[in-house]
């Protein structure tokens, strides 16, 4: 047996490090799917970060000119402040590799000592972009009347505590809602003899692939609480309680923002596969995302046309976003026709909840809570209805015993989806409600009426966002 031939083959293949051929690119066997996964996650992170621009433009276009700088600054800071909070406490509480705990994580504060772990930073980037998204949703609902200091407070609390806890529940390997929560069964000697999946939820976890519930309901729920505690903008409801339309200052910005959000969603959903090896799944997710967005936009557009007679843009834009939010959770486990249905129903959910808020005299300038909270809730439930067995397997959910009720499951998965939806809604609304209540009771939630009438740009940010005439040449 000429061993040296086999050794050559083996060393070339397995441990390129020690091979005499190390310097040759030809035998660079360092490359494997894990490195490509890092690239995939980073790419996803960039796209989701780009959604910050989408939110900024959508929100700027949807508020009045006099509050433009205010809302833009909030979006810029969501990225900045969000990064530092997520680095210091957000990621550790969500996905930190500390002691096993069903409720909250702990560990990896300040990414300390994790820098050497391959793939860690890529995952951190991806998760940061998600956290910044959750925080940004709120700024639309509290637009045009929220104090800047209150904004700073809620961003810190939301990205640093409320959102990470939900991420831990749903996506970590220890969370009580997680589909990847393993408990180890020990034998008599204390050795691991087998695994037992998610004991808290009867062996199954929540299907929420990219975060209809975990991201959008959290952002949307906090947005709803913010809008309730702040109260409507001056002049939003007339003396009889009828809503008065307050137009945003630029539809162009709103459209631009919506397109960028849709574009960024291709990072949000498909890249949530987290792995290069799951590209077939990512393809399906991308197609489903597209179809739901289109269906949601078309539906909401037609509903608005039928109810008001006007071919109006904002319903189409918000319908697209509603469709996207609805498909975010189920995108990996449903078929394309179901994606179209989910998008259509998402359009109805958006339209209905938009009108419900007006009835309740809750003023949400960007419709952040109809889009993100209500459509997000629908997305969580949709998984319990439309998830196919093959989809649950392909989506790598750890337990494929349960799937959608429309495909013959006994309803267990649907029950889990309802439970998860309720838990996220309660947690978010209660914690953020308490926070906004406290801010209100110490009197730092809302700007004084005279500042609101003058516009926040003039009163807080040193002048208007626009200066279309000659420079005032003030010294």
């Amino acid at each position: 047996m000429p061993l040296n031939v086999m050794q050559l083959a083996r060393s070339a293949l397995v441990d390129g490090e020690d091979s005499s051929l190390h310097d040759r690119d030809l035998l660079d066997y360092e490359f494997d799917a894990a490195n490509a996964s890092s690239f995939w996650l980073l790419f996803g992170a960039y796209l989701v970060f780009f959604m910050q621009l989408g939110f900024a433009l959508l929100e700027a276009g949807s508020v009045r000119a006099k509050n433009t700088k205010n809302i833009l600054l909030k979006n810029v800071l969501d990225a900045c402040l969000g990064a530092l909070i997520w680095w210091s406490i957000g990621y550790p509480l969500a996905l930190g590799s500390g002691k096993e705990n069903n409720f909250i994580g702990a560990g990896d504060f300040f990414t300390y000592k994790r820098g050497a772990d391959t793939g860690f930073y890529a995952l951190w980037m991806f998760q940061w972009a998600f956290a910044a998204t959750a925080a940004t949703i709120v700024s639309g609902a509290v637009a045009e009347r929220c104090r800047f200091i209150a904004y700073l407070t809620y961003t810190v609390v939301l990205t640093g505590f409320i959102y990470p806890v939900v991420v831990h529940w749903g996506w970590s390997d220890g969370g009580w809602l997680s589909a990847w929560d393993y408990d180890y069964v020990l034998d008599e000697e204390g050795e691991a003899a087998g695994t037992f999946l998610n004991p808290e939820m009867g062996g199954q976890g929540l299907i929420d692939f990219a975060g209809s519930g975990i991201v959008h309901m959290v952002g949307g729920g906090a947005a709803l609480m913010g809008a309730i505690f702040l109260g409507p903008r001056l002049g939003r409801f007339d003396a009889d309680g009828k809503p008065v339309d307050i137009q945003g200052h630029s539809t162009v910005l709103a459209v631009m923002g919506t397109f960028i959000l849709w574009f960024g969603w291709y990072g949000f959903n498909p890249c949530s596969t987290l792995m290069w090896g799951a590209m077939q799944l990512a393809e399906k997710v991308a197609a489903n995302t597209t179809l739901a967005a289109a269906a949601g936009g078309a539906t909401s557009f037609l509903l608005a046309r039928m109810s008001t007679g006007v071919l109006d843009l904002p319903p189409a834009l918000n319908g697209i976003l509603g469709g996207l939010v609805s498909i975010t959770g189920p995108c990996a486990v449903v078929e394309p026709y179901a994606a179209v249905i989910i998008g259509v129903i998402g359009g109805f959910v958006y339209f209905g909840s938009h009108n419900l808020l007006l009835k309740l005299k809750i003023d949400d300038p960007l419709d952040a809570s109809p889009v993100h909270f209500f459509c997000g809730a629908w997305g969580v439930i949709a998984s319990g209805l439309f998830a196919t067995k093959e989809g649950v397997v392909l989506g790598a959910f750890a337990n494929d015993q349960y799937y959608g009720a429309f495909y013959g499951d006994d309803g267990t998965q649907l029950g889990i989806q309802f439970a998860g939806m309720a838990a996220i809604a309660l947690w978010t609304c209660i914690t953020s409600g308490v926070m906004f209540f406290l801010l209100k009771s110490v009197g730092i939630l809302r700007v004084p009426p005279e500042d609101e009438l003058a516009g926040l740009d003039e009163s807080h940010h040193g002048g208007s966002a626009y200066d279309m005439g000659e420079a005032p040449a003030k010294a």
């Binding site: 490509a36 796209l47 090896g277 393809e283 289109a294 006007v310 071919l311 843009l313």
Partner: protein, 484 residues
């Protein structure tokens, strides 16, 4: 033995001759394990290559999708304030309606495998039914993004005067039927014009027409649908004065035009390089990177050429036309992006700018067709030039790399003219097909009096008559109308 079975399962058959199998059986355990591991490794590596291609195509599709934002901004900046919402909504609805129409009809007509008239139109795969047996999701997504781009080209040419419902009908017909048929001819292996034929005897001149990323398929289809539409709907009120002069109607924001131009250019890096459909082999990666370079140089050359020609013509440094000029360069290179040398790309772009400026003038002053964003000149005429470029400059080694070495090359590289002839046939046929089908549709809409907004609506602006308000509220005070 278990390990032998595993080896048989994992290794490619042609490796395992009888001799080899026999000798494997006699080898020691370490050798057997090495072989098994090598084979498993190979399978894993092939999977990675597939994933590289998928992710490349997905990324490209996303970039092409972002071109919708580019079109929206470009068109919005090129129309007057009072019609901004109208054109924006058209762009949004193109994407939404396009996705549904392409899902239900379009893909099937373009690439469906079960047709009785294979050379002309496809069938099957409608609603993505049975789709996964033959195709991947990413292919659908990429093609949808192209379909939506083709549809959107028209919106600008018919801006400021077309009734919204007419546009909606047009958009569904184009993405659902007219465009997919052209795709089938040129890009499906069964089409009669294709340069990737399943059978060379069944394609044109036994050679096929090279249209790499869609000068003909996408840009001419969109551009000449725009011509049909703009001609049928007629010019905007006031565009031609009573003494026959042309009145200037500048768009309301040059900033949006520039933003749109940059977004389109950015998206073109998905459009052209992405059309190689894969990147995982050395030759694919080479083609993809070359496409990016030729795209860049052509766009750059055309932008500069337009700038100087306009400076010479008008005496001013013309921003908006220069932006359109660089887009013309990008259109001009779209067919030949994989087969042209960089210097040829610069020629394609510079001459493309000339073609664009000439046809812009010809359409406005001679045909007297009013095209607010010059979509006809930009996409239709320059697209046709892009096809001719291929017949002239397609380099032999690059044709061999991106297509096959049996195919004809550009006449400057010693081609025998079959390729150039195929390109010209393609131009004529696509022009006739689009003008006939879309012309008929727009004519029917016109006869039913559905095509054009009333003069009063047009004067007031479509935003306020059809869309319930204005795109901009720069005044401090809300208009104060009660919501119904």
């Amino acid at each position: 033995m278990a390990i032998l079975d595993q080896i048989t399962a994992a290794c490619p058959e042609d490796l395992l001759t009888e001799e080899v199998l026999l000798s494997i059986g006699e080898a020691d355990a370490a050798s057997q394990a090495t072989l098994l591991f090598t084979c498993q490794q190979a399978a894993a590596s092939a999977e990675v290559a597939g994933a590289v291609n998928s992710s490349f195509l997905l990324t490209s599709a996303y970039l092409v999708f972002l071109m919708q934002a580019g079109f929206a901004m470009l068109c919005a900046g090129s129309v007057r304030t009072k019609n901004t919402m109208n054109i924006l909504l058209k762009n949004v609805i193109d994407v939404c309606a396009g996705a549904i129409a392409y899902y239900v009809f379009g893909w099937g007509f373009a690439y469906g495998p079960n047709s009785d008239a294979k050379a002309f139109i496809g069938a099957g795969h409608h609603g993505l039914h049975d789709f996964l047996n033959d195709r991947g999701w990413e292919e659908w997504l990429f093609q949808w993004a192209f379909a939506a781009a083709a549809a959107t080209i028209v919106s600008g040419a018919m801006a400021e005067r077309t009734a919204f419902s007419a546009y909606l009908i047009y958009s569904v017909v184009l993405t659902g039927f007219v465009y997919p048929v052209v795709v089938h001819w040129v890009w499906d292996g069964d089409g009669w014009l294709t340069a990737f034929p399943n059978d060379f005897d069944k394609t044109i001149f036994k050679n096929g027409m090279i249209d790499f990323a869609g000068c003909g398929v996408v840009h001419m289809t969109g551009g000449f649908a725009a011509l049909a539409g703009a001609y049928m709907v007629g010019p905007r009120i006031g565009r031609f004065t009573q003494d026959g002069q042309v009145a200037d109607m500048p768009g309301h924001s040059a900033t949006l035009v520039v933003l749109g131009t940059f977004l389109l250019w950015f998206g073109w890096y998905g459009f052209n390089p992405g059309s190689q459909l894969g990147v995982a082999s050395t030759s694919d990666a080479d083609v993809v990177a070359r496409c990016a370079v030729t795209t860049t140089l052509s766009g750059a050359a055309a932008g500069l050429a337009t700038l100087f020609m306009r400076k010479f013509q008008t005496g001013t440094w013309d921003l908006v036309t220069s932006c359109n000029g660089s887009l013309a360069g990008l259109v001009a290179i779209t067919a030949g992006t994989s087969t042209l040398e960089p210097w040829a790309a610069i020629i394609a772009g510079a001459v493309g700018a000339l073609v664009f400026l000439f046809s812009k003038w010809f359409i406005l002053y001679k045909l007297r067709v009013d095209d607010p964003v010059d979509a006809i000149a930009l996409h239709g005429c320059t697209g046709a030039w892009g096809l001719i470029v291929v017949g002239l400059f397609a380099a032999d080694k690059y044709v061999a790399q991106a297509y096959s070495s049996d195919q004809d090359v550009g006449i400057f590289y010693g081609g025998n003219g079959k390729l150039l002839a195929a390109e010209i046939v393609g131009i004529i046929v696509i022009f006739l097909w689009v003008m006939a089908t879309q012309g008929l549709l727009f004519y029917a809409l016109k006869r039913m009096d559905m095509l054009r907004a009333s003069p009063e609506e047009e004067m007031e602006g479509l935003d306020s008559t059809e869309h319930g308000g204005s795109a901009y509220y720069t005044e401090d005070v809300a208009p104060g109308k009660a919501v119904a």
